[in-house]
């Protein structure tokens, strides 16, 4: 009776959502897309199952890399036509390793060809891009110590003055400890450049380590230097909490503590995504977990000076707790993994995707746990539209991505599930707002300008801003077009705050278009090659 009443409430909520859902409509193209990847495996693959997208053949379309767990990972070449159905072909690339939880694209050696870092249960491997979507192991060439851990989180940055990236790897529990795994979190690693050489030094242990499932280099205070935010799974740590390391080039990282204003939070941290959703110039952080999810905003934004690292949870008033399924009969608490802020309806307000799925067969949590697509309304609150939009899969999801896979300016969706095949949806919505899709380029190291901020002015004068990070999510990440919805704007003002502090000029760009923004140069309008 009580459950029936709750269902009715939820249906009413959904009905309200439907009235304002715009025209979002996705079509499931899993069975026609050529994507057949399955993330398989037992205990060591309870977590992971990542997706990544990047362009490795220079045509502007993003390839997809999907982890396979005990199966081999797969790189899918994008053969979609602009605006057409999603079409991929698995290609031999060198990335077909087993025991892969996920891979992140990163142009490590700044040669303009994307490299990939593979996180594994076992040795991590950096794969050097050879061009035309071929890759080769480069651990030895680049001095990368792959270790033998259960690696579950990744983030990368270029520290000040460095000509080689710094990579942080989050490691999970000691997978060999069967009877008492709790408290056996293994050390996270910080792979910094070896001086001025173009190779990595021996990794630094980031201890204490508390079993992270997501990490991000982020300039949370806007001081110009990203720090390392770590979201930890409380299932396994003892004495742990969420963490943030203060990063200074040339110095050991220092944990933020009570004396710095850091407020402890302890959750089943499973994924981070970030965006300045309240226009206060500082990023907010969405942290996925079990049951309630968190959206952290600075507890206080100072008039002058830098803020303290104290956050308040604003998920509840904004409708973002996503703590239980919003549809169906199974109303037990949810389990959330990958999440991502993007503007799926191009109205100039970012929306949120959350991948959901039971850890395994935990009976206290929903077994049929639909993914969320939460659309932001004009009042800043979010409403659920996943069912109406056609993406409310109840498979056991883990990683995923929102990305424009057919370059029509509308974000498509790919989700990696545990035990069953990955799923992919084409965004076929009509009547959406206009968009801008941008790529950044700069000479020297860090060609893709990781750590930059892009700002775009909305029609109401508010400035949308996003930090360009490499990492985070749930073992999933993209390095391709950065997407902005701009509503009805025919032209939009855009500028870039480049890594190192240089602020580029405002440029007025025609919307519904793609641009390459190269440091020190005017925006270059990019047009996809016509389909053959």
């Amino acid at each position: 009776m009580r459950r029936a009443a709750l269902c009715a409430v939820l249906l009413l909520a959904t009905a309200r959502a439907a009235s304002s859902e715009s025209v979002l409509r996705f079509s499931d193209q899993t069975h026609t897309s050529g994507i057949t990847s399955v993330y398989a495996g037992d205990y060591e693959f309870t977590v992971g199952g990542g997706a990544s997208s990047f362009d490795c053949n220079g045509d502007g379309f993003s390839e997809l890399f999907l982890a396979g767990g005990e199966n081999r990972a797969t790189l899918y070449q994008n053969r979609s036509a602009q605006g057409g159905d999603l079409a991929f072909t698995a290609i031999p690339s060198g990335l077909e390793l087993t025991r892969v939880l996920g891979g992140y694209p990163l142009d490590i050696n700044a040669d303009g060809t994307m490299d990939v870092v593979l996180l594994r249960s076992g040795e991590n491997v950096v794969m050097k891009g050879l061009g035309n979507c071929r890759f080769a192991r480069a651990n030895e060439e680049w001095g990368f110590a792959g270790g033998n851990a259960w690696s579950t989180a990744f983030a990368a940055t270029w520290e000040k003055g460095a000509n080689w990236p710094t990579i942080a790897i989050g490691n999970y529990v000691d997978r060999f400890e069967e009877i008492s795994p709790w408290g056996s979190c293994t050390a996270n690693w910080l792979h910094r450049p070896n001086g001025a050489e173009t190779r990595f030094a021996s990794p630094l242990a980031l201890t204490p380590s508390f079993c992270p499932l997501s990490i991000i280099f982020t300039d949370w205070s806007r001081r110009g230097t990203p720090d390392l935010r770590v979201s930890n799974d409380r299932q396994y740590y003892e004495g742990g909490q969420e963490q943030m390391w203060r990063m200074e080039s040339g110095h050991p990282p220092q944990l933020y503590a009570d004396k710095d204003g850091w407020r402890y939070v302890r959750i089943w941290g499973m994924g981070i995504t970030s965006y300045d959703i309240n226009f206060d110039q500082y990023p907010e952080y969405f942290l996925t977990s079990m049951a309630d999810n968190r959206l952290q905003a600075l507890a206080a934004v100072p008039q002058e000076g830098q803020p303290k690292p104290a956050y308040k949870d604003i998920a509840y008033p904004l409708g973002l707790t996503a703590h239980r399924p919003f549809m169906g009969e199974d109303l037990r608490p949810s389990t959330a993994w990958h999440s991502q802020f993007e503007d799926v309806n191009n109205d100039g307000r970012v929306d949120l995707f959350i991948a959901k799925g039971n850890v395994a067969e935990m009976p206290d949590f929903a077994q049929k746990d639909p993914n969320n697509l939460l659309v932001q309304g004009p009042d800043g609150k979010f409403i659920e539209v996943a069912d109406k939009a056609g993406v409310a899969s109840t498979n056991t999801a883990r990683g995923g991505l929102l990305a424009d896979l057919n370059l029509d300016g509308k974000l498509d969706l790919v989700v990696v599930n545990r035990w069953v095949g990955a799923e992919i949806w084409k965004n076929e919505s009509e009547g959406l707002g206009r968009f801008l899709q941008l790529r950044l380029r700069q000479d020297g190291p860090n060609r893709d300008a990781i750590g930059a901020w892009i700002e775009v002015k909305r029609a109401d004068g508010k400035i949308m801003r996003r930090e360009l990070y490499s990492g985070a999510g749930h073992v999933s990440g993209a390095l391709d077009w950065w997407h902005f919805g701009v509503g009805e704007l025919q032209q939009a003002e855009v500028r870039v705050l480049w890594p190192g502090g240089e602020t580029g000029p405002w440029e007025t760009l025609d919307t519904n278009a793609f641009y390459v923004l190269e440091r020190g140069k005017p925006a270059h309008h990019w047009i996809p090659a016509p389909s053959p």
Partner: protein, 437 residues
């Protein structure tokens, strides 16, 4: 220990069979018991439904399971059958059959663990399987033919019997992590309102728990409390005075006060919970005192019953008065910006659950080990909290109780009355007869 038991098993097996009605009392049984309890305490921490009341219930039935399994072969332990409501017709050992105590304990605990913690996550499931396999191998080594099978079957049968009995107490099914899907708040400023923005916690935890059937208490309301001070926003009122006391306590926290608050915080999912904390105290004493099997199972059963009944009594009173938390009153009346040191738990305030169950635990442990009984508690050392030493169990209970004032989550009345309620519950437990005359 391994060698002595193997010698026992191999060399004296024929003698044991000849004296089939004489229990073997293997030297490793206390070790087996402690290994399982160590895992159980981890599972309590790691299993999301295991809020303190739920944990207390599991400890009660686990304790009774091993107690009855051992008592059936003991010359000195007195079964609880007939003493507590509904517990009767327990499986008996077969005359003329040899049993091994370690195997009985192992089989009973293996069954009970999987039964009460079948909802734990994959790491817990993996751990239970691994421990069962390891202890099976250890316990089976050197046993005479047939002893393993008979002992394991008997231990499991006791576990099954207790489990079947436990299902009727009202606490067997916990949905939505213990939070009702719908809840109507009691009107009026005196009553509980949610204290966080966690969506799941907009209803109180387990509001019907006080209707559960207790084990030692004759009924859930057997240890009632007087009402808390009348709600008032008058600055001269007792209620306001107690609120100011919370404000002052949090404002003037010393490092020692903070250490006490953190030590007894015992948050679900981040610790073995308050009931598990007292179980750890017992386990540490077992280790230090090299407590034998019979005494161990007796203590675990009595302590489990005490904390189980303590939470039933406490939750019944909480719902009866449905009092608001200090953070709600203080923000409303005294200081909008005030924050407690600890996270306020999501249920009504009066009385303090930790106080009630600590009072109950201290009352039974004092009977088990004597009063005063000095001990050092290192429950949280792996979480980075230093051990604390106490001259008596009651001193520890009082510190656990006052920790809630330092933490800013309870008024003084809830602390003092909670301890009194716990003492009442413990007295009922102490009336149970666990030793033959």
């Amino acid at each position: 220990m391994r060698l002595s038991r193997r010698t026992f098993g191999a060399g004296i097996a024929a003698f044991t069979v000849a004296l089939a009605s004489v229990p073997s009392h293997g030297a490793e049984a206390p070790h087996v018991l402690r290994r399982w309890y160590t895992l159980i305490l981890e599972l309590v921490r790691q299993t999301p439904t295991y809020s303190p009341p739920v944990a207390a219930r599991a400890f009660a039935y686990l304790g009774i399971t091993t107690f009855e399994a051992v008592a059936s072969g003991s010359q000195t332990l007195q079964s609880l059958a007939g003493q507590v409501k509904g517990l009767a017709n327990l499986p008996q050992r077969k005359p003329g059959v040899a049993y091994d105590e370690a195997v009985i304990v192992h089989a009973a605990m293996a069954f009970a663990s999987q039964t009460y913690f079948g909802n734990t996550g994959p790491s817990g499931q993996r751990a239970m399987k691994a421990l069962e396999k390891k202890l099976h191998k250890e316990a089976a080594a050197g046993l005479a033919a047939g002893v393993w099978e008979e002992s394991a079957a008997y231990g499991k049968s006791v576990g099954e019997h207790i489990f079947a009995w436990s299902k009727g107490d009202g606490g067997a099914v916990v949905e939505n992590l213990g939070f009702p899907a719908e809840w109507k708040l009691t009107p009026g400023p005196a009553h509980w309102v949610p204290t966080s923005t966690i969506a799941l916690q907009q209803a109180p935890l387990l509001p019907a728990w006080g209707n559960n059937q207790p084990i030692a208490m004759p009924e859930a309301g057997a240890c009632p409390l007087p009402p808390p001070p009348d709600y008032s926003e008058d600055k001269e009122s007792e209620f306001h005075r107690q609120a100011l006391q919370v404000v002052d306590a949090v404002k003037n926290l010393t490092q020692e006060h903070k250490a006490i608050a953190r030590f007894w915080s015992d948050d679900p999912m981040l610790s073995p919970t308050p009931p598990g904390h007292w179980m750890w105290i017992a386990m540490q004493i077992f280790e230090k005192e090299n407590t034998d099997l019979e005494k161990s199972v007796e203590v675990l059963a009595r302590l489990g019953i005490a904390i189980n009944d303590g939470f039933i009594a406490c939750w019944r009173t909480k719902v009866e008065f449905d009092l608001l938390r200090p953070v709600t009153y203080i923000k409303r009346v005294i200081d909008k910006a005030w924050e407690p040191l600890l996270i306020t738990p999501p249920f009504p305030e009066y009385p303090s659950g930790h106080s009630t169950q600590s009072g109950a635990a201290a009352t039974v442990l004092a009977k088990d080990f004597g009063d005063p009984f000095a001990f050092t508690d290192a429950t949280h050392v792996r979480d980075g909290l230093a051990p604390r030493s106490f001259k008596s169990f009651w001193e520890a209970a009082e510190e656990a109780a006052v920790s809630r004032l330092y933490g800013g989550i309870h008024f003084r009345a809830a602390i003092d009355r909670g301890l009194e309620q716990g003492k009442c519950v413990g007295t009922f437990v102490n009336m149970l007869k666990t030793r033959k005359a």
